[in-house]
């Protein structure tokens, strides 16, 4: 990590942050601009070039394409993307169609991105209208709460008036009481690491700093997940409310939502809300006549899954290369621009808002101490009722799949739950699992974001492992040795198996997986072995001697 770059970038700060300047100007192609902006920051031209070259969307090979077909796990399993790609290539030209990893349309598939918008499902039938620039009517995901008390899907923060009333109420509440509520609720971070949210806010409120920040991690890149998308688009005021209250509690006057560029509608929804809240003095200087000021902005991700990791996300905003930093220091003491920072996932912030409004005891009374409250669960298109659901922690998975999800449209053999780094769970194990973070981990899986990608019976598991290695090789930040080299060598092994040029050496593969699991700096390349090891354990029989060898 470079303290120098963080500090120098911090002198310009968040409003006109270096990442935004990198994203909006094609600096590597403009020798004068890159020099000017580097000079403004007292940084090197190399700093800007190094950062720009990190992002998929900023590369010439990406910019020259017009449409991008979703290559996320759910669309891949649905088998819809080859035909979609063919259709788009016929319309736009062979070299004009690229790929993007998960557009969050896992409930309908056939997802693609064109000219700043996402399309999916039957939209491709209207491709001529789309290419003509006409606005088409699009289907929305289904959403419903099955929770004892809804914290995330209710309508208690659906209007600006409600936002104002609740803010009025909580601006008068003692900060310590808010932290106590969160601690009492047993809310743990919904982004994957599961750290107690109240504790994080408490640490940051106690950390010393002349400036503090609140960051909403809206870089949901997990295939199968569209729960953050639901919150950003359908419950934006909840997410923002969580950020404002967090700002008040920790003593911060500025926050930012880092939203992935693959979610244009989410960006639009949040942007609209921020503008309106500013007009109403519910954001900005001296909110509602108090001495509390809080400003909010958006950073738009440029195609890097790793930015969902909090230290990489911070590096990204600062205009550094979005590589994972070592911990300690933790962001609560040295975060954005080296200032104390709370980084919370979208669902965590919305849940915090829901808890404060509904009361912590209602949240803690659901599930157990370590897996408390409600959780959004996303079901993909293999379910009869695909959609996003709010569900009590502790609910049996079989109930979620069979009753809420309504069973499957086609025979499935396994599920990847929790994104590309989550476990692959065979169908038969579902009956033994409840919606519970610890239970999943104890059985060698990972609940993570609770997104569900179904793997159909006829889908070869070798292909699925290849997909996982390809993903980690593509998205690895490249900093740690086992991550950078291991993910790529793993991908090569399965490239060679697919093309029939070499068999997979099982002993070496196993050593490679352990090396990545034990050695990697972060959970991207460190957790990708989890689903791969699950597949080898439960579906090893699929990999016969024609594709594997012992040594």
């Amino acid at each position: 990590m470079s303290k120098n770059i963080s500090n120098l970038s911090g002198r310009i700060g968040l409003k006109n942050n270096l990442f935004k300047q990198l994203s909006e100007n094609l600096l590597s192609d403009n020798p004068k601009d890159i020099k000017d902006i580097a000079k403004q920051h007292n940084l090197g031209v190399s700093t800007l070039h190094g950062a720009e070259s990190f992002y998929e969307f900023l590369r010439p090979s990406h910019r020259e394409k017009k449409a991008f077909v979703c290559n996320g796990s759910a669309c891949m399993c649905a088998g819809t993307q080859d035909q979609l790609k063919k259709t788009l290539k016929e319309k736009l030209g062979d070299d004009k169609v690229g790929e993007m990893f998960c557009l969050g349309h896992c409930y309908e598939n056939k997802a693609f991105h064109y000219d700043g918008e996402n399309y999916a499902g039957n939209d491709i039938e209207k491709i001529d209208q789309i290419l003509n620039g006409e606005e088409i009517k699009q289907e929305k995901f289904f959403s419903k709460s099955y929770a004892t008390t809804s914290f995330l899907m209710d309508e208690k923060l659906s209007s600006f008036d409600q936002f104002k009333d609740q803010l009025n109420n909580f601006l008068k509440t003692d900060k310590k009481e808010i932290i106590k509520s969160l601690l009492d609720s047993n809310l743990t971070g919904r982004g994957g690491a599961g750290f107690p949210t109240g504790m994080k806010w408490d640490f940051c409120s106690k950390a010393k700093g002349d400036k503090k920040y609140v960051i909403c991690n809206a870089d949901e890149g997990d295939s199968g997940a569209f729960s953050d998308r639901y919150l950003l688009e359908d419950q934006p005021l909840k997410v923002i409310f969580g950020m404002v209250i967090c700002g008040m509690v920790i003593g911060s006057d500025e926050g930012v939502l880092y939203i992935r560029g693959e979610y244009p509608k989410s960006i639009e929804a949040i942007n609209g809300c921020i503008n309106e809240l500013k007009k109403l003095n519910l954001l900005g200087e001296n909110i509602l006549g108090t001495d509390f000021s809080f400003d909010l902005g958006i950073c738009i991700g440029q195609g890097a899954y790793i930015c969902g990791e909090e230290t990489a996300l911070i590096a990204s905003i600062e205009g550094r290369r979005a590589e994972v930093d070592v911990r300690p220091p933790f962001p609560v003491t040295e975060g954005l621009y080296k200032k104390p920072t709370v980084v919370n996932n979208v669902e965590t912030l919305a849940a915090a808002a829901g808890i404060l409004i509904n009361g912590p005891e209602k949240f803690s009374s659901i599930g157990n101490k370590k897996s408390a409250g409600t959780k959004l669960v996303c079901l993909d298109s293999f379910f009869n009722n695909p959609g996003v659901y709010e569900i009590d922690m502790g609910t049996p998975m079989s109930k979620i799949f069979n009753e809420i999800g309504g069973g499957y449209t086609k025979p499935v053999k396994a599920f990847q739950i929790g994104g590309p780094l989550g476990g692959v769970i065979p169908l038969g194990e579902i009956d033994n699992l409840n919606l519970d973070f610890q239970e999943f981990t104890a059985k060698g899986f990972m609940l993570g974001h609770a997104s569900v990608v179904s793997i159909p019976k006829d889908f070869p598991m070798v292909e699925y492992i290849h997909h996982l290695f390809e993903f980690s090789a593509e998205e690895s930040c490249g900093k740690c040795f086992p991550g950078r080299l291991g993910s790529y060598r793993g991908k090569e092994m399965f490239d060679q198996a697919k093309s029939g040029t070499a068999k997979i050496p099982l002993k070496l593969l196993n050593e490679l997986l352990v090396t990545m699991q034990k050695g990697c700096l972060c959970a991207l390349c460190g957790a990708i072995p989890t689903p791969i090891m699950n597949i080898l354990k439960y579906f090893g029989d699929e990999m016969k001697n024609d594709i594997v060898k012992d040594n």
Binding site: T47, H49, V326, G478, E492
Partner: protein
């Protein structure tokens, strides 16, 4: 003498006192057992802990016979009464496997290399007893043109192991942001400025990059590390 209570932690079962300059497990172990006890590749004591190579991994337990966890020693703080294990089968296997991965993208021409017998990668690989890798036809970044455009410095990226020490020396020691990593993942590579030739770059020829380079990916024309 400080009136504070003396704090200890255990290295391979034996107690050792933790002092104020033991800011990491690596520094703690090295201060008692010397430079070679735990191998490193991306570490340079003059630079901030970076945690990239992971060959400095050790096993730690918070109490005697407690559950252990593998951590990179360079950026993990020492905790009082912690038990640190610097070597065992799992660690040796981990370190070997990581160095093996490094060798999959290395020319392996030590005999004709300028820094033969004075190379950190060669040392670490030799100590672990590995000289080759088991991967089938791995893609390599071989044959990158040597950059000889600079009057004093040479860049030979075929030998680069992406440890980032040069980039960090340029930033942290010289305050010069001339070198950077560019690209991402397997395609990451060292470059200068906006992808300039070394000689055309804003380099001020301080030599900090060559000084810290563990191989001869960046070298100083007038201060060869050759021991031939």
């Amino acid at each position: 003498m400080s009136s504070e209570k003396r704090k200890i932690a255990y290295i391979d079962g034996k107690p050792h006192e933790i002092s104020a300059n033991h800011t990491s497990i690596l520094k703690f172990v090295k201060s008692y057992f010397g430079e070679k006890k735990v191998p490193t590749l991306c570490d340079d004591p003059n630079l901030a802990p970076y945690g990239a190579c992971r060959v400095c991994s050790v096993e730690v337990a918070l109490e005697k016979d407690g559950p252990t966890k593998i951590v990179a020693s360079c950026h993990t703080p020492v905790v009082e009464n912690q038990h640190i294990f610097t070597s065992n089968e799992a660690l040796t296997s981990l370190r070997k496997n990581i160095v093996e991965l490094v060798l999959t993208d290395h020319p392996m021409e030590c005999g004709t290399c300028e820094v033969n017998n004075n190379c950190e990668l060669q040392d670490v690989a030799n100590d672990l007893g590995i000289s080759d890798h088991r991967y089938n036809s791995p893609k390599q970044h071989k044959g990158i043109t040597k950059d000889t455009s600079h009057d004093y410095m040479r860049m030979n990226l075929d030998n680069c192991i992406n440890c980032g020490r040069c980039v960090r020396a340029c930033d942290e020691i010289q305050g010069s942001f001339v070198l950077t990593m560019s690209g991402r993942g397997f395609e990451s590579k060292i470059t200068t400025d906006n992808d300039a030739l070394f000689g055309d770059s804003s380099c001020v020829s301080c030599g900090a990059c060559a000084h810290t380079c563990p191989t001869d990916a960046i070298s100083d024309v007038f201060q060869s590390k050759s021991v031939a």
